[in-house]
Every structure is written in C-alpha cells, then in structure tokens.
Symmetry: D2
Subunit: 301 residues, 4 copies
C-alpha cells in the first residue's frame, strides 16, 4: 500500500475542489487526476496535470495543413492519418505531468528519455524512506539462456528463497547503516550526499515527470514493449491506461500503428512480395541473416 493516510487525505481534498476553466478539458482524464495507481510493491503513478485533448491535436494539424486536411472528414480519421504519416508535431501540443514513485534502477532507465522535464527527490537535501522493491515470487526470473538481455522462468525452491533473503537482508542492513551514519545523535553525522551511496538500487525514489504526448508515446512504445524490463513495463502499462482515457483517438491509432505494427526492411518487403506471388522463400534465399529471418517470421506469422 504505497500511500499514507495523510497522502490519501490530500488526494481526496484535491479531488473535491473543482474550479471553472475556459481551457480544453478531457473528461476521461479528470477521473484520474491526483489518484495514485499502484505499481510494483511500493510504487505508483498519478496524474498531477495535463494540457489538451484529442481535439488539440487536430486543431494544431488544421493550422499546419490548412486546406490539406479538409478532405479528412472527422477528427479520428485525421489523427490516424497523422500517426500513419509520422506527423509528430500536432501530438506535441498535448502535455502531461505525472508524479511517479519508482525504484532507482528503474529511474535510471527512464531518465534516458531526454525530452522531458524532471524534478526528482534529492537525497543530497533529504532523507530517503526505508522502502525497497522486492520482486514477487513470480517475477524472480532466471537469466535467459538464449538472450543476454532477457529473462527465463521464475526461480523456485531454495534458490528463490535465498535470493529473496539476500535482497531483503542487504537492503535492511544498508538502510540501518545509512540511518546510523547520518544520525547526529552523539556524533557529527555523515553528510547525506555521502551516506546515500550505501543504498542499493532497489530503494524507491520519486519525481515529477512532464512530457508532451509525442514523446510520451515514444516512451510507451519502447517501455510497454515485450522486450522492456518487467519492472519498467508495469509503469508503462499503467500510463497506457491513463493515456487511453485522456486522448482515446490518439491512443487507439498508437496501438494500431505503433504498438501492434512493425517496420519491415527493404529486403523483408521484397520477401513478402515474392511469397505473395507464391514463391517458396526460405532463410537461405531471403537475403536475411538467421536472426533477421527469425524476427521476420515472428512478424508475418
């Protein structure tokens, strides 16, 4: 349960005080505002603010393309056209601000997406809470034997128990020592900016993260993907649900053209054309490496 009673009370208060605005309002998003969606054992995602809706996308597109968009009769059709043709700037006209609580090793992946605004909790100034991500037994995956970046089956039995014990005990001991080192009770107390170096990468941090819709969708494409690490994917999944309520047309187009789509190389397209003409195309005569061919077969079923 990631929220304290005080935090829940604050959320309830924020949600009880609507004001009037002349801005575009997305009804589906108003439902999410401030509410914390739990992720992992202590994390959450919650919407702090947003700008724009599906209509803000088409409004900007109509500025750019003027008469060029007249033939597309409705907003959904226009949004699909923009998504299909990689016209990204209209999607940049929407913005979202999230409050996210997440383990440090997840934050380190997340921050590599540079086109966003971030204010993170600073362990130079403040003391981190005693909260660590400990995987659920089902998520305690073995190293994949075929993929250097992948996971195999979940560990079981004694091995699983030992891993959980190490993670729990090491985090606890490191945090005990962190607290002891920064204490000024009967001693000087180590600088917080130094003491934090003793904390493991599963300690939780939190930040405000603000991003435009185009860059958000790019983040979701990479991080809600089956190849993303599970611990960041669950955050991306939570944000996907929020986005679907915020900009339903854009999200649906994103699912069709990005999440469910695939990019085929010139060589692969040529193979598709040959196969459709009835030719028996094999890896050997495809022009692809074994790895590419395996991926290609995965895509065209």
């Amino acid at each position: 349960m990631p929220l304290s009673p005080e935090q829940q009370a604050e959320i309830d208060e924020l949600r009880s005080a609507p004001t009037q605005t002349l801005r575009a309002t997305a009804p589906g998003m108003e439902q999410h505002l401030y509410t914390a969606h739990p992720v992992l054992d202590h994390g959450f995602v919650r919407v702090i603010d947003y700008m724009g809706d599906d209509n803000a996308i088409t409004q900007a597109a109509r500025v750019s393309y003027g008469k060029g968009t007249k033939s597309v009769q409705n907003d959904e059709g226009l949004i699909r056209y923009l998504m299909r043709h990689w016209h990204s700037t209209p999607f940049e006209m929407c913005e979202i601000k999230l409050h996210v609580k997440l383990p440090v090793f997840v934050a380190r992946q997340w921050i590599r997406h540079r086109t966003a605004n971030v204010n993170e909790y600073s362990a130079r100034y403040s003391i981190l809470d005693r909260e660590f991500y400990i995987p659920a037994p089902d998520d305690l995956a073995a190293q994949s034997t075929i993929n250097n970046q992948g996971r195999g089956e979940a560990l079981t039995g004694e091995e699983a128990e030992r891993v959980l014990r190490y993670l729990r005990d090491d985090a606890t001991r490191c945090y005990d020592h962190y607290e002891e080192m920064i204490s000024d009770d009967g001693q000087q107390g180590l600088a917080r900016e130094l003491a934090r170096m003793n904390l493991p990468a599963n300690v939780y941090t939190q930040w405000y993260w603000k991003v435009d819709l185009h860059n958000l969708l790019h983040f979701l494409r990479l991080r809600a993907d089956a190849h993303a690490q599970y611990e960041i994917r669950v955050y991306a999944d939570a944000i996907c649900n929020i986005t679907a309520d915020w900009v339903p047309f854009a999200y649906k187009a994103f699912e069709d053209y990005r999440m469910g789509g695939a990019t085929l190389s010139s060589t692969a397209l040529n193979c598709v054309r040959r196969m459709l003409k009835g030719e028996d195309v094999t890896q050997e005569n495809s022009g692809m490496s074994k790895g590419e061919w395996r991926e290609f077969k995965g895509v065209i079923g």
Copy 2:
C-alpha cells in the same frame, strides 16, 4: 485590426463556455484565454492553453529539495531563491500554448529557440493571405552608424516615403503574381510549394507555439531586451504582460534577477571591489577592453 468577424465570434464562443476541472487554475490567465492581443499592423498573440501556476513551481521544488525548502517560509521567497540560484527545473513544470500571427522575418528569428513545439501554417498545403508588415513611420529606422546590428533615428521626408512605397508596391506586386501563378483558371497553376518563393519576408504567417516557462523566460530575456529587433520585441512585450498575469511571483523574480540584472565578469567584479575601496579605476587600469569598459560603466551607472 487583425481579426475577422468570424474569428472574433469564435473567440467569444470559446470564452462563453467554462467547464469544471480539478487542475490547478491561474485566474489571471483565464482572463487572457483565446483573446487576441494585437501586435504590429496585422499580427497578434493569444493564449490557447496553459498548464500550472506559481504554486506548480514551488510544488515541484518541494519534491526535489524536500526539507531543504522548509526554511523558506513562503512561495514567493522560494521562487525568488530558485530564480537567484538558477534552479531551472521547477520552472519547466509550467507550460503555455500560444497562437501567434507574425511576419516571416520575425518567425525566422523566433524559431531559433529550439526547445519548443511548433505547428506553423504551411504554404505547401495552403494559400497565404495578402497581409504584409509595413512599419509605422516612427519605426522606419536608419542603420545605426556605430552598431552593425542596431538602428538609428527614424527616416524622414522623401527617403521615408520612398521606402514605404517600395515596401508596399513590391509586396503588392509579388502577391499579385503569387495569386496569378497558382490560379488554375484557364491554366494548370503553379504548385503552391513553388509559388510561395515569390513572397517577401514581411508576409504574415502564423503558428501554434508551445513552450515551458523556463524556456519562455529565456526567450523573453533575449527578445524583450533593448538589443532585440523592435519587430520581435513587441511580441515579447505582449507575452511579458501575459506571463505577469499568469505566474506573478515568477515573473516578478524574473524582472529583478534577469531583465533588470547583469552578469559581471571576474575582472569587472574586481573593479567594483577596488572602486568601493576608494581606488580610482579607469579603463586603462581596469584590465578591460574599451568595449567592455563602456558596457561596464553602463551597468554600474
């Protein structure tokens, strides 16, 4: 008068339909929403949307700096502290979206600010309107004789008349030919993407421009500055007025620390210290070049 009756009717309609929202609302900004502030002879600036207020800045700062901000008792004090110490990320938590109509040569300067989202009217797809910036007589400045990038006094008499005649006649003729070239009446009609090349740089274009508050203030510092070209400065001035109503604490701090402030070099600071001790510091013994010394004297009065 830059707005057509249809546009004014649309603005009136948008302003007559408030909705309820749980988001942070800036009362001063609601007054501006959709309304067109005239700039130059045919241009305008109007707010289409915004995210956040002064409180959103301190809220993000308190996430980052946690206990470190407790000693600063109020929001205004904290915002001044952040501005003074160049803590820029909390200011990135606010966002504004403007609809701007502006001459192309102003747009070319403006677009050099890369950290923003833009959707511009496309002359590949659509036909530009017959509207050109013609300076008012007082703004018809001579080339500065001392500054390569500056202006001198306004032209007068026959010279001023000739300049205005050239600007008006050339724009009119170029536009007549633009229209004639793209016409498909009794001919094929030149592609719009080609015909536009005949239009001079004082033709008006328009765009949606979205930017966060930190980058907006950086833009304003450079473009509302006395050294900026007059024709972009009037846009910056109009946006300054809007920003002052949107985030009054942040704007006031910006005026004190940025617009009215100055950066002194190590050498200049050393001169100040010597002068305060009663030493007679001259350009010759200052360690500065003549240009630096002149600027220095301008700053310290």
Copy 3:
C-alpha cells in the same frame, strides 16, 4: 557556378595542408572535406568537419551492450542489428558539420529539425548577395490535382514563361530596392534588419549546420523521401552521397531498414498474414480506409 575564384582558392588551400591526428579518420570523408557539391542553381553542400566513423558506432555499442554484442561477430552485422532494433544512441556518437548555401524557403523547412546546431548568415548584420533560386524548366511543376502537398507535371509554353518572368523580375526588382534602401549614398539608409523584409523567399542564405549521425539519418529519411519537396530533396540527396562515403556500413543499413523499409500497422500485418494463407483480402474486408489500403497496396506491390 556557386563558388567564386576566391572561395575555390581557399578550398584548394585547406585541402593541401593535411596534419597528423590520433583521432579516428574516415578515408571516404577526407575526400569530401571542404569541397563544395553544387545543388540547385546557386547552392552547395560542403563538409567542414566530422567526428567518428563506422567503428565509432560499434565501439559505443560494445560499451553499452558489453557481452551482449559478442555473438555478433563483425562490425557490419552489429550495425545492422542496432539499426533494425532502433538502438539509436550508438549512432549519436558520430557528428558532421556542413556548410550549406540554400534558398530561404528551403531553410525554413530544414530548421524545423531542432536537434542540430546552426549558425546562419545574419541579414541584420550583413548584406545578402543578389542570388535567387529560379527553377529549371523541368522543375516548374504544376499543383497536383489529387494531393494538396504534391506536384503535377511541369508547366509548359506561355504559362511556364510567365512564371519564370515573374520570378526573375520580382526578385530583381525587390533586390534593386533592397540595395537602394540600405544605401547611405546621399541619404541615411534604412536599417539592414528592416530592409531585408523586402527580399523574396527564393533569395539564398547560408549556414553552418552540425548534427549527429542519428539525427542526420532521421533528417535524410524525411527529406530524401519521394514526398519531400524537390528543392530540399536535392540537398538531402547530396548529403546521402557524402554519408555513404563517410559511414558505409551505417548508410547501407539505413537504406535497407529505413529508406527502403516500411512500417505496417497491426491491421496491415494481419492482412498480410491472411493473404499468405491464401485468403482474398480486399479493401472492403481489410479493416482499412481507402487511403490506407492504397498505401498498403503500394508497399506490398
């Protein structure tokens, strides 16, 4: 002929003075350094500097992916893997700096690519040359009747002649007046920053443009595409040739996976699978709109 004898002499001198360096050197790129490749009637592209080569891409990838890259035995295979899986950061490790002379209306499209460094000739400070882009007769295209952003056949006969006459005469007259307005011979002379507004969008400007390889390839994908406007495509084509000599493995992978590839939506992939199973798929039962279906048929032949 875009280069003056002085400029050619400068290039010859720069090319005659090699120095020793310990940096990675790309032999194919050394051939291009400083040489101006003519584009359009007065434009050019020339390489001023570069950083890195194909090896710099794999070197960075091996830092990131460590043992994960051991199974890929050679540099070309690794580069193809990176391109196929959208691992963009290793491509950011190469950088190129170009000097480009181009018409203003092309510069306005180009500058929309924000992730680059630019120093453009400033008409506030300096006087623009009397050079304008006038299309060759074959490039004097009519507006497409089926595509708002496209071109049809070239204009012919009297219509073509009239267009060329307008473009030439209007540019000449505007430039004559520009010169006359800024002249300080017997008059004050209008400020250069104002006078430039009288120049049409086919006047040439120039800039230094510096960009990393990842963003360069993104630019080339959009601007060397058949849907890009001809006048920017010829610049992209010239840069493609340079890039092919600079990083031959990366460029070849780019051609296969990006330029010659295509992204298929979830719906489109499903149609491919049905067709490969022998089903008769038509637009009506495809789940695609007519526009999507037409594009889909174009891709799969």
Copy 4:
C-alpha cells in the same frame, strides 16, 4: 590505479598510430587523446574524440555576423565578445567525446544534463565489476549544520572508522551476493537485470559521453562550482584542465565571464550604484532579504 595492463596497452597502441587528416586539429588536445586521467579511487576521464578548436568558433561566428565581426581584430577578442554577450551558437560548433568511469550516484547527477549523447555500460547485458567508491578520510565530510545541501568538517576518530567500515563491508557483502545470485553454477541463476538491484550507489559504472562545447561549459559552470558535490566536482575539474588545452581562448573567456563572474539582480546593481556614490547601504535599506544580502556581500567583497 584504474587501468588494467590490457587497457594501458590498448591506449599505447592507439596513441602510436597517427593518421593524416584535413580536419582542424587542436595540438593541445592531441596530447590528451585516449589517455586516462585518474579521478577518485577507481574512476577516470579520457578523451576519445573531438571536433573543432578555437578557430572553429570564430569561423562560425564570422558566418553569422559577417561584417559585424570585422571590427574585432583578433580571434581571442571575438571569442571574449561572444562569451560576454551570450552568443552561444558558435560554441556549439565544437564537440568532445569522453570515456568516463564514475560511481553510480555521480552518474545520476551527471545525466540530468540532457543535451548530450550517452552510451552507458548496461548491467542488463553485462556484469558490473567489483569496484566501489570509498571516500578518502579527508573527504568523509559531516553534514553541514547551516546548509541542507552542504558539508562540514571531515569526520574523525571512531565515527570515521565506523563509516568506512560500513561502506566497505556493505559493498563487499552486496557484491558477494550479486555474484552468488547470478551464478549458474549448480543453479539457474538470477537474471542480471534483477540482480543489479542489490548493488549500492557507490558501485562504478562507465559511459561514453559526447557533448558540444557550449553545453560542456554549462555543465562545468555548475559542476566545477564550489557548491557542487565534491565527487562530481573532481570530474569537472579534470575536464576543465582538458578543455583549457583544447580551446585555450574559449576556456580563458569562460573562466573570466562565467566561473569567476556573478549575476547581480536589479536590486543588487542599484545597491552597488548607491554605494559607489558613498551611501551607507545596509541589509535593512538594501531591499534584499538576509540571504540575498549575505550572498551579495560575498560577491562584492
């Protein structure tokens, strides 16, 4: 000693094989190429590549400002002018690529500078080395009692010993368990992407970091500052030394105008003017808060 004999041999080999190039070469930088400058107990900074030199800055400025720069007679004067007037784009024309080995908690601060290209060693793919930052006794600072983000004196005696013992023992134990968890000797072995979460923030990582000179100087201004955390400041100091050899004019201007300079607010400038006229200005009549006044007195001595 951060480098293995194999790494040193590789550096020696790279440094022994100069090639010829037509590019601009910075002699001071050639001396640094590939050589590892030790930082902290196991870290280093080394230059992998660079583009441009002081001349590349003025070359780009002369493109932009054309005749506007003629009056500035020499390169150093022009570079000082550009730095003084915040003309940042010419400095963006130089680029540097560094290989840095650094503790994770330093990397987390560093990565907040978004305008750079990064390839970091991935602990999803590869196994991190058993190397941890343990502060030297003199750097084992107490928490400042007056500044939430600062350090006081070094810890001594038993308290210092206990801190060092905790840091060493916890790192060792966490790494032992990391190794044990990922081992596939007689067990499945935990996925590397999970096991890494047990490692503390003082474990070393490494990356390739590429940035333009303007953004590098911005990084150095913040991170070589006295208020920066010591553990990142030593990296910034090492890069300062490299930069001084690479672009000596630009670095010297940076030291004068940025590192040694200060920005005074409108209120502070007004106080300076009053003081120079002989007025007795105190905090009470200054218009500044106590904190501002203290900082102001620190600046003007």
